[in-house]
Symmetry: C2
Subunit: 111 residues, 2 copies
DNA sequence: TTTATATTTAACCATATGGTTAAGTATTCA
DNA sequence: TGAATACTTAACCATATGGTTAAATATAAA
């Protein structure tokens, strides 16, 4: 039985698969924000946002600091690096693909 | 109501969030393979693999060519580029973070 | 000390996901 | 033509996901 011990990547990519969460990440890239601030652009209840933030936090994509009753969220670089790191493995693949295509366009296959 | 018209990225990241599918991608990076070949390393039924391949295909991460009864899958560079493209947006973010950390280590905050 | 604010937790619901087994569909081989 | 091979589809199941409303918690303000 081949076991792929549940990777951190599972959570990171799952977290990234939701458009609300990607928008939250985009928002946090410029600066940290409170839950209320993050919720503002969305036609969604606070608990829904709260859940999205929990998913992002569990994935390690954001961290949270509590200042009184206010929770301030910030983006965490490491998890993003993890994701891009996995994808970078395949950079070679698509560069080869692209090169092959170019070759094909430039000169026909046989000779 | 802020509408994030369901992006291709939803499907791509969702597809990448499963370890079996990531393993399939890794396998396909070296060369195309049949369904049976792809199924071989996994302790999982054929229909399960078939579903995973469907998810990957729907996300645009793999394409399929039928040669008789044999289906040959191949990795598609474009969808991978899409994913890495989204993440690249934040490269600046983590580089700044890293630079700031370095700065902090080098000299104390005030002065 | 009451009230308002910021946020989470609980309970619920509908749909999606990841697996199963059984059956169906093409295609090839004998 | 009949049997084997390479798959997919169908039906089902348990759990996860993304949303809701209502209630709880913690802190701040009056």
């Amino acid at each position: 039985m081949v076991k792929y011990s549940s990777n951190q990547l599972d959570g990171i990519f799952a977290a990234l698969s939701d458009p609300t969460r990607r928008a939250i990440i985009r928002r946090l890239a410029s600066e940290g924000a409170t839950v209320t601030e993050l919720a503002e652009p969305f036609a969604m209840s606070m608990p829904a946002i709260s859940k999205h933030l929990r998913v992002l936090q569990d994935a390690g994509l954001v961290s949270r600091t509590k200042d009184g009753r206010i929770h301030r969220l910030q983006l965490e670089a490491d998890a993003l690096k993890e994701a891009i790191g996995w994808l970078e493995q395949y950079r070679q693949f698509w560069e080869i693909k692209l090169a092959a295509l170019e070759q094909f366009v430039t000169k026909p296959k046989k000779q």
